[in-house]
């Protein structure tokens, strides 16, 4: 049984974070901060902002990333924007409204006070980013511009064309590089964390592999912060970068950290459809496009005409018809499921039949071609580059794709896992998005965690402990290193016939089929039979070229696939246990007559937290009960 003390402050929700800072958190004085070493794994928005902020405070920070530069982390690919309740549009926005939208969008499966804090910090993030020189879009008077996003009724999204993630990451990266230059942060690029070192139940450091030389080394620290992103690549095809993986999180799970809500996977409604078996990833088209694009399919399954020649009456604007109030701006899960639904009815378009139109003709007619183009310039260009079609001329084709994972390591209000000294921030924790994340909220959460929460909360833990108690001479480091080397050697010793890539593809198909956009008991149980069989085959028939003492990308990939194989099983298990529908987790057994997700608050208003029990043993389910004091439970309804 895990001890899950969520440390939620006992104070009214509006004051909870301030109360917590003032009354519950101890500080480390500036003279003492350099004595404490903090390891940050990952250099995306969460990792870079955390490492930079803690470095600037004076902590002795070491940051690790597997890419060749911290600037390449996948946060860079976020397109549309970042939410903040500035209420610049005077359209009724407020911290409360953003909290409400996030909690409602997450289908009431998140912790209220965490979500409120996120909304509260949102405005400071914009201020911080602008002070770094992030060039957000401006209006003619020089004030910041906004756009609207799915699932909300206000305009609160700040953006830099279609490259908001890139600009925010470059802001965090430049802050990180400033601290590297000041020797406050030591950066280790091309290093991958392969295990966590735990001594007497407390996190004491990590074991990493230098991806260029293959050298395996240990690093001790007073606290370890995982900012290692999401695990969407368990599906093989996703909008994640190729390198995104679950290894750091999964290794932490195996060392005692609880894994929360692993089955909560967001399927993004607007990605470019796959074109063939060789497809290596899916490219997202920002959902901000739904502001101006109208989604439709032909009403007739046998429609053969060019989409431009199909008259209005033969077009099925299914979102507008089914959800008149939100129309094309329904939340992501609703949009994704409806796309699958119309394609399953045979109305899908494109060579595979798995696609729907996203049409800009009406917006172009209303606002003019230049206005629409300037808003989405690089998205249109990206689409044309991939498909050879110009969205100004002919409707885009889109289809849902795995995009974001709400599940992650369980953390308390301080963002610490149940393993003392181990933190998880950004997408790698589970905390704020419940069962579904609203658009433009992931950047917000990563930066709230990194700039404003972890720099304060980590001090509370550190102040209660002596610095540098344990070094890499401790036997636990040697043991963990030996285990990591052993695993690498075992992978190389299989000498079978199939590549890691082929196993990854097969796992992805199993996950998409059995634990994808909609799920049911029978299918999940089948998935739970298929995955162990595939893992057995992996251990019997894996073919790995090269040797472990050099740059070996196949070896890197094989290690990640192995963790995905174990992790996929955990996801299916969670999806099976959660016998309700909520947010992105759609169990076919539980739906309203209109096909909406039907929650079961009586039995499932909890966070599922899985505890590792050893190889071949079923993990134990722990529950953190959720309470709904500020915002009473309500059925999610985007229709009226």
């Amino acid at each position: 049984m895990l001890t899950l003390d969520s440390k939620i402050p006992v104070a009214p929700i509006e004051d909870a974070w301030t109360f917590h800072k003032n009354n519950n958190l101890r500080l480390v004085g500036p003279k003492n901060r350099p004595k404490y070493k903090v390891i940050v794994v990952g250099s995306g928005l969460a990792g870079a902002s955390a490492a930079a902020s803690m470095g600037a405070m004076g902590y002795n920070v070491e940051c690790f990333c597997f890419q060749d530069s911290p600037r390449r982390a996948h946060s860079i690919a976020a397109q549309g924007g970042i939410n903040a309740s500035k209420n610049y549009r005077n359209d009724g926005d407020s911290t409360w409204r953003l909290f409400y939208d996030t909690q409602k969008g997450g289908d009431y499966r998140a912790r209220e006070k965490n979500v409120y804090r996120l909304a509260e910090l949102s405005t400071s993030i914009i201020d911080q980013a602008v002070s770094q020189g992030v060039p957000f879009a401006r209006e003619y008077g020089g004030k910041l511009a906004n756009r609207s996003f799915g699932g909300v009724l206000v305009e609160r999204t700040f953006y830099c064309r279609g490259e908001t993630g890139q600009q925010l990451l470059l802001g965090a990266y430049s802050a990180l590089e400033e601290q590297i230059a000041a020797k406050k942060v030591k950066m280790h690029t091309r290093h991958e964390m392969l295990d966590l070192v735990v001594v007497d139940g407390r996190s004491r450091g990590i074991v990493v592999r230098n991806l260029e030389t293959g050298e395996i080394t240990s690093h001790a620290a007073d606290a370890v912060v995982l900012a290692t992103g999401g695990y969407g690549n368990v599906f093989y095809l996703s909008t994640n970068a190729k390198g995104c993986n679950v290894t750091a999180n999964f290794r932490a799970y195996r060392k005692g950290a609880g894994f929360a809500n692993p089955c909560f996977t967001q399927i993004h409604p607007t990605s470019i459809p796959a074109s063939g078996d060789y497809q290596s990833k899916l490219t997202l088209m920002s959902e901000s496009l739904r502001n101006d694009g109208r989604i439709w399919v032909p009403r007739d399954a046998d429609e053969k005409r060019d989409p431009r020649n199909i008259p209005e009456e033969d077009r099925y604007y299914y979102l507008e018809e089914r959800y008149p109030r939100f129309g094309n701006l329904v939340p992501r899960d609703v949009a994704a499921r409806n796309a699958k639904d119309v394609c399953d009815q045979g109305l899908g378009v494109g060579p595979t039949g798995y696609g729907v139109y996203l049409d800009f003709a009406a917006a172009i007619e209303e606002k003019g071609i230049d206005a629409v183009k300037s808003k989405y310039a690089n998205l249109f260009e990206m689409y044309q580059r991939i498909t050879d079609d110009d969205p100004v001329e002919t409707p885009m084709r889109i289809y849902p794709a795995v995009h974001y994972t709400m599940g992650g390591l369980w953390v308390d209000y301080n963002l610490m896992t149940n393993v003392p000294g181990l933190y998880a921030i950004g997408e790698s924790n589970f905390a704020d998005h419940g069962a579904n994340r609203l658009g433009a909220s992931s950047l917000m959460q990563c930066l709230a965690d990194g700039y404003f929460i972890i720099p304060v909360t980590i001090g509370d833990f550190l102040s209660r402990h002596e610095s540098g108690e344990i070094t890499t001479d401790h036997p636990a480091f040697k043991e963990t290193e030996a285990a990591v080397k052993d695993r690498v050697n075992k992978l190389l010793a299989v000498k079978g016939t199939r590549t890691a890539q082929s196993f990854h593809r097969e796992l992805g198909k199993i996950m998409w089929e059995h634990c994808g956009i909609s799920r049911n008991r029978e299918s999940l149980e089948e998935g739970l039979r298929k995955i162990p069989a595939l893992r057995e085959e992996f251990w019997r028939d894996l073919k790995l070229p090269g040797n472990p003492k050099e740059l070996n990308q196949s070896l890197e990939h094989a290690g990640r696939v192995l963790d995905f194989l174990d992790f996929g099983e955990l996801m299916c298990r969670d999806a099976l246990l959660r016998d309700e529908s909520c947010g992105c987790h759609f169990r076919e057994e539980h739906q309203t007559p209109e096909g909406e997700a039907e929650r079961n608050d009586e039995d499932y208003a909890f966070v599922s937290v899985f505890e590792y029990k050893g190889e071949g043993t079923e993990p134990e389910l722990n529950k953190e009960a959720l309470s709904f004091d500020a915002l009473p439970l309500a059925a999610r309804n985007y229709k009226t």
Partner: protein, 258 residues
Amino acid sequence: MRIKLHVWRQSSRSDKGHMETYELDNVVAEMSFLEMMDTLNEKLTVEGKEPVAFDHDCREGVCGMCSMVINGEAHGPKSKTTTCQLYMRHFDDGAEIFIEPWRASAFPVVRDLVVDRSAFDRIIQAGGYVSNHSGPKPDPNSIPIEPSVAETALDAATCIGCGACVAACPNGSAMLFTSAKASHLGMLPQGQPERFDRAKSMVSQMESEGFGSCRNYAECEAQCPKGISIAFIGRLNSDFLKASLVEPIDRRGDMKAQ
């Protein structure tokens, strides 16, 4: 499609390296260039040979990780396109394709097509930031910025740091990269206080990394996947000149809070 590939193979930093030739016959036009490389690597692995190491990550043209010189051009024949966003439809059936790593002494080859671009990070460390701590900041609307200024700053900030400009330049100069960052910050009000120090120290770091000097070939702009304009180089040169004339003493050491 059937294609013939000539690929640079180099087992380590110290290896001399050589070109090797491969043939692929199951290529389709809708494949991305890197999916074609995946296919090659799958084939090599199954045949018991070493796959080709290459850098890649986001595969949507924004992380800046992919880096191949294809038929003599950084990121290949299509303008304003990263390697990962290049599609096989841009090549003819039966095409012969030459693939090399970025070539520049400041970017040593690590293995095959993978190079070491850490020099870029060190140029940023020399001043590619606004000195800052995390914490309360003024409301952004208290410092209005003309939209055209913000947009031009974004034109520069859109640099993905891939290094194609260096690979494209006959001198291996990093001026386009350096000037893009210096101009992005130098145009915005937030970047003013350090503008001239920044210009000076970034340029001096660039020179010490072994990048060549700029001779206005403009190959960098032509091969930049983001179409960054060499006008930014002019801007940097102007700031650098002013910095050298007007502000001969760097007072930063004295001014920093203790």
